[in-house]
Symmetry: C2
DNA sequence: TCGATAATTCGAAACATGTCGAAAAGTCGA
DNA sequence: TCGACTTTTCGACATGTTTCGAATTATCGA
């Protein structure tokens, strides 16, 4: 669990993660619309980081289980792993329960 | 937001945080039962860390807004800050929505 | 006021992370 | 096969984190 938080503790990584969330949130489920996922270089566009650094960050997000990376030709497509997202939701849902008003 | 994740990215800090969650989760709301909150040394008991290290970790959790620390005599009482917990819940709730089955 | 208890601050050491550029590897079209 | 494009790997360096022990501060009871 702390590995997941570690992955999101870096501002650049969080930015990449949120961009990935945003670009797939137009009502498209990950399962029903598997084609148009952004690649590594696309996701790092606005960060101002070197390509090698972006690659490193993507690997961190992947190792934490937050995203999946699948090569498709030259590009490596990235997508959110919804099961990990759900895992986090359950974690904090349980945490918050006693304080729910 | 990344500061919150940073605070939880350390295993010892996460353990302390979870202990604080657990010890106040017996149906007692933070608002209705403000008295019996564990102090700094109590929370670090099972970590095997030096007192100075525990103090440092508590400060990190506090700076992230996850807990509040209030001196009560010799001891400093620690309690979860439910508003930050709710903030996290909203964050991930919004994230998960597009992937909800 | 003194001693005990609880917590913080400080400096230092070990370790981990973030970043880059250069080089290498994978993939595709000509 | 060659060159262009995308990505990964590697080595290096700067910065940040984790941890400790010692010293300091805060509070209370005797």
């Amino acid at each position: 669990m702390s590995a997941i938080f570690g992955a999101l503790s870096n501002p650049n990584r969080l930015q990449i993660f949120l961009r990935l969330i945003a670009c797939c949130s137009e009502g498209d489920s990950w399962l029903t619309e598997p084609e148009p996922c952004p690649c590594v270089s696309e996701l790092g566009e606005d960060t101002g980081l070197a390509m090698s650094t972006i690659s490193h960050h993507m690997k961190e997000l992947s190792r934490a289980g937050l995203i999946r990376m699948d090569r498709n030709g030259q590009k490596v497509e990235c997508r959110i792993d919804p099961s990990t997202l759900e895992k986090i939701n359950v974690f904090f849902g349980g945490c918050c329960k006693p304080w729910k008003k």
